[in-house]
């Protein structure tokens, strides 16, 4: 398989990369942002998310960064995760794939035009 066409991301991995594309996040922030974006319809469990993060880190699509304080008032520290250049490219390809699917669905009148 050509290097420019990696296998499609799993939905949960795409969700995480989508969140990390907005900047570095710690675990709980990823969970919260994913749930907010899906308007409560997608609720990730801690174990499911970290297993997906492990896959992303192993594939070089995300990387853990240093531990730091999420809140300056609070001395508790959290590990942050960041998207890598490969991760950004994989997410872009996935977004493109999904947009093609949406266009196909629209032309098959599964979606109303203009949505």
């Amino acid at each position: 398989m050509a290097p420019e066409s990696p296998p499609p991301l799993r939905p949960i991995e795409f969700e995480i990369l989508l969140t990390l594309a907005g900047g570095e996040r710690h675990g709980y922030a990823i969970l919260q942002e994913t749930e907010e974006r899906s308007q409560g319809t997608l609720r990730l469990e801690t174990g499911t998310m970290y297993r997906a993060l492990r896959r992303l880190v192993e594939a070089g699509l995300a990387r853990p960064t240093e531990r730091r304080q999420p809140d300056p008032q609070d001395d508790e520290r959290r590990r942050y995760y960041a998207i890598t250049a490969e991760g950004r490219r994989a997410a872009e390809l996935e977004a493109l794939r999904l947009s093609r699917l949406v266009a196909a669905a629209r032309s098959a009148r599964l979606l109303p035009l203009g949505t």
């Binding site: 710690h26 675990g27 969970l31 801690t46 970290y50 297993r51 492990r54 590990r79």
Partner: protein, 888 residues
């Protein structure tokens, strides 16, 4: 328990569960996961206990599922095959000992069933949002004075309604009995007199017709009623033409405008809804009337924020009212709770917390016992384990094998527990529907749901982690040399033996105490069911009225009200006697003390009696006048003060003579300090708390025309039609004071049946728990004794080789089992004495009965422990000397 402590406990629990993940994964992400978990837990905690509990359960189940999946991911095809081999090996082991498998699965399944059931019960009863459109936002608003919760004054409510920004759809309601129908088809139902916006609040349209409209509450509007589905079924035989037809409500023709969907009973168990007239709601005179209040939290507002705002508004409004009416000094504030939480009252959460604590304790005992049974079994295989280690098997492999047997037992126990809990939840729904029909909150529908499954998943995960972890670690810690040298019989250290003996003693004492408590609770329940009130309860109805202090500020105004009710009821041919009664003082209280004219106070202090204010016919309660005369028109407020005495009291203080004409004084009652003349003697009726041991017939009756009471019980007898008599009461009270609402009318049988049913149900629940605790004692003691005796099998073999008989060895071991029994019983004895003393003091249970119950429970436990010692002893003895020693 403080919030920090709770946080520490759940964090530790979660960190423990992370061991379900492979070590490599745990090292990389374990800390991050624990931090993410605690962030989520804190957020859930801010949303209330229910959310925090649900979050914890989800996290546990997540750890179990994802831990297993990650382990599968982490393995090579070869190791996956080894896993599969281990599972098959563990399955074979379990199938080889069906009795052992059944016992462990039943013990663990029972413990899990109790925990899942009680957690799900608690969640549905108190924590689950109302099953209505966005039910989580619907709240009950109450006024509080100190620890007392009360309804909200109409004028204060208007102020709060104007100022509250945190609440929407605020509305007032009150509940009462109404009589629906005509002539022989009449039926008493619960009615909620409410503002029409109640239906918008709950976002529930009518199933047929319409709900209430604002125009229905306007002055002069046609009287209308909305029926619940159940009332439509029961009272109108599912007649679909009932909508828009007219029915009599308390004798007034009223149009039925709609029927609500099945299962709808908001606010609690409403059977009908009628409009609360705007004129009543718009009262401008403070203290005239008060209401219960519902509302919806505005989006994004927490109950705590709304409580702060409403509390401030309420305090301000009540401060203005209090200057003109009552002189109560406690600060007024507000309480905002969900309807389920408010319905449980103050003691409900405590009771449910105790029940959950008990269930957790039993689950803990079950886990300890199953662990011990598995350890006892592992002991039997210790030589095989050692040989495999010596032949080069890795400890990790042995650890995994040790785990699987526990995992399979926990999964089977979990399945059994979930099935049993589901059955229990459905049974309790059916039972409450059948027995508590009119008292059932509409959200009390227990069944298997997401929360129950989450709870099951959470408890099973903890069980696997606890049982599997310990058993596997013990298997992996096998000392090869020691086992191969002595066959494992001495490999258990002396400390192990001591620990096992201590565990047996602890089990004996715990189960003895639990069983004794259960038996005593059963005895009390039996007394409640067979309770004799001491008077004829045939055709007897009872209710109460409590006039508002502000509208009935003086004793005279209250007397006029009470007299009007008695006179009005007497006009109705359906009513065969009415008695208004108020308990003014209890026996053995300072208020109940009395003095006799011409007699010195005894060294032990003034005698006491139950003091009751009465108005109407004592005969309504079955009390006869045996000497002298009853109260009559001669005993008005401005006439000579008089009393009636009970026969028991008269006989105690004037034995063999009539007390008529004697004088008594009640210095403890401010309104009755004058000397009073005895004008009659009434037959005895036991008075006081029906469940108290100190019920007594010593009574002094005062005419309510010469005493004062803020509220009275109304006891009346009907002539065959209870419905007609209830309608008479409603009409009389409405004609005397339209704002006065009597409490629900109940027959004596209903009061006793409800009290008895609840007591018996609680006792049965305890009995089930304690019955299971007994099973735990059997299995636990057996497991521990089996382990201990197995470790002594070499010693037993040597004793037999030296000529000891089986009988003497059995005696020896039973004696040693008896020692642990003695220690356990000694520990249990003081606790049993405390429990026995408590029950005999507070409930009508005789000392001899309590002592007999204690002795029987102890005998039962002795039998159980001796049996649990005898069975493994027989097993070892059956092996034969050569076989035991040959293993060396």
């Amino acid at each position: 328990m403080s919030r920090d402590t709770r946080e520490r406990i759940v964090t530790r629990l979660y960190r423990g569960l992370l061991h379900l993940y492979p070590e490599s994964f745990r090292q990389g992400y374990g800390d991050d996961m624990a931090e993410t978990f605690i962030d989520g837990w804190r957020e859930a905690r801010r949303g209330g206990t229910a959310r925090a509990l649900t979050f914890t359960m989800r996290a546990m189940l997540d750890a179990l599922l994802n831990g297993a999946r990650e382990r599968l991911h982490d393995t090579t095809p070869r190791s996956r095959m080894l896993y599969w081999q281990d599972v098959r090996y563990a399955t074979r082991l379990l199938l080889r000992s069906p009795g052992f498998t059944l016992l462990t699965v039943v013990v663990l399944g029972g413990g899990l069933a109790l925990s899942i059931f009680t957690y799900s019960f608690l969640h549905t009863a108190m924590l689950r949002p109302l099953p209505l459109g966005e039910g989580a936002g619907i709240v009950r608003v109450m006024a509080t004075r100190g620890v007392e919760t009360q309804s909200i004054d109409a004028v204060a409510l208007a102020e709060v309604r104007r100022g509250a920004t945190t609440l929407t759809h605020m509305g007032a309601y009150r509940t009462r009995d109404i009589v629906v129908g005509r002539a022989d088809g009449r039926r008493v139902v619960d009615a909620t007199e409410t503002e029409p916006n109640l239906f918008q609040l709950t976002r529930t349209p009518a199933a047929m017709g319409r709900t209430l409209l604002p125009a229905d509450a306007e002055p002069g509007a046609e009287p209308v009623i909305v029926l619940s589905w159940r009332t439509w079924e029961v009272a109108f035989g599912t007649d679909s033409s009932v909508v828009n037809s007219r029915v009599d409500i308390d004798g007034v023709p009223t149009r039925v405008v709609g029927v609500m969907p099945p299962g709808y009973g908001f606010p609690v168990a409403s059977e009908t809804w009628i409009p609360l007239p705007n004129a009543v709601l718009a009262t401008t005179e403070a203290g005239t009337t008060s209401f219960d209040v519902y509302a919806r939290l505005r989006a994004g507002v927490t109950a705590a924020a709304a409580q702060t705002e409403v509390g401030t508004l309420m305090a301000r409004a009540m401060a203005a009212i209090d200057t003109t009416s009552s002189a109560r000094t406690e600060a007024v504030s507000a309480a905002i709770q969900s309807f389920p939480m408010a319905q449980m009252g103050e003691t409900g959460p405590l009771f449910l917390a105790i029940l959950n604590g008990l269930a957790t304790l039993i689950l803990l005992l079950a886990l300890v016992n199953v662990t011990n049974l598995l350890l006892a079994r592992a002991n039997e295989r210790v030589r095989e384990t050692a040989v495999r280690l010596a032949l080069g098997a890795s400890r990790a492999r042995l650890l995994a094998q040790g785990m699987w047997e526990s995992v399979l037992i926990c999964l089977m126990g979990g399945a059994l527990g979930t099935v049993l809990a589901t059955w229990g939840l459905r049974a309790i729904t059916t039972w409450t529907r059948a027995h508590l029909e009119r008292n059932m909150a509409f959200w009390w529908v227990w069944d298997i749901d997401r929360t129950t499954l989450l709870a099951a998943g959470g408890f099973i995960t903890v069980s696997i982690a606890a049982v599997g972890g310990i058993v596997a670690m013990r298997a992996a810690a096998t000392n090869v040399n020691a086992v191969l040298q002595d066959g494992g019989t001495r490999s258990g250290s002396r400390r192990d033996g001591r620990l096992a003996r201590a565990l047996v003693a602890t089990q004996v004492s715990t189960v003895t105490v639990l069983m004794f408590f259960g038996v005593m609770a059963g005895l009390v329940a039996r007394r409640v069911v067979t309770f004799d009130p001491g008077y004829d309860t045939h055709n007897l109805l009872q209710t109460s009225i409590a006039p508002e202090g502000s509208r009935y500020a003086s004793a005279t105004s209250r007397r006029v009200l009470y007299q009007s009710v008695v006179d009005g009821m007497a006009q109705w041919p359906e009513v065969d006697g009415v008695l208004l009664r108020a308990g003014l003082a209890e026996i053995r209280s300072a208020e109940g003390a009395f003095e006799l004219a011409g007699r010195a106070v005894t060294p032990t202090g003034a005698p006491t009696a139950h003091v009751q204010g009465v108005l109407g016919t004592l005969g309504a309660l079955g009390i006869r006048i045996e000497d002298g005369r009853p109260f009559d028109a001669r005993d008005a407020a401005d006439m000579a003060p008089v009393v009636l005495l009970s026969r028991a009291l008269a006989a105690r203080h004037w034995p063999g003579q009539s007390p008529i004409g004697q004088q008594v004084r009640l210095p403890g009652l401010p309104e009755a300090t004058a000397w009073r003349t005895v004008v009659g003697v009434a037959s005895d009726v036991p008075l006081g708390n029906p469940l108290a041991r100190n019920r007594s017939a010593d009574a002094i009756y005062l005419p309510l025309s010469q005493a004062d009471a803020n509220g009275v019980s109304v006891i009346f007898r009907h002539r065959g039609s209870a419905v007609a008599a209830r309608e008479a009461l409603n009409q009389v009270v409405a004609s005397v004071d339209p704002l006065l609402v009597p409490s629900r009318v109940q027959t004596h049988e209903e009061v006793q049946a409800t009290m008895g049913m609840i007591t018996v149900s609680v006792a049965r629940l305890f009995a089930a728990c304690f019955g299971f605790a007994l099973l735990l004692a059997v299995s636990g003691t057996y497991g521990l004794m089996a382990r201990a005796i197995w470790q002594r099998s070499r010693e037993i073999g040597v004793r037999r080789a030296l000529g000891a008989t089986d009988a003497s060895i059995t005696r020896l071991l039973l004696t040693q089992g008896g020692r642990q029994l003695g220690v356990g019983a000694l520990v249990a004895l003081p606790l049993m004495l405390v429990i026995g003393a408590g029950f005999t003091h507070f409930f009508p249970v005789a000392y001899a009965l309590a002592a007999t119950a204690g002795a029987l429970v102890t005998l039962a436990i002795i039998g159980v422990v001796l049996l649990a010692t005898w069975v493994p002893t027989r097993r070892v003895l059956r092996m034969g000397t050569a076989s035991v020693l040959g293993r060396e």
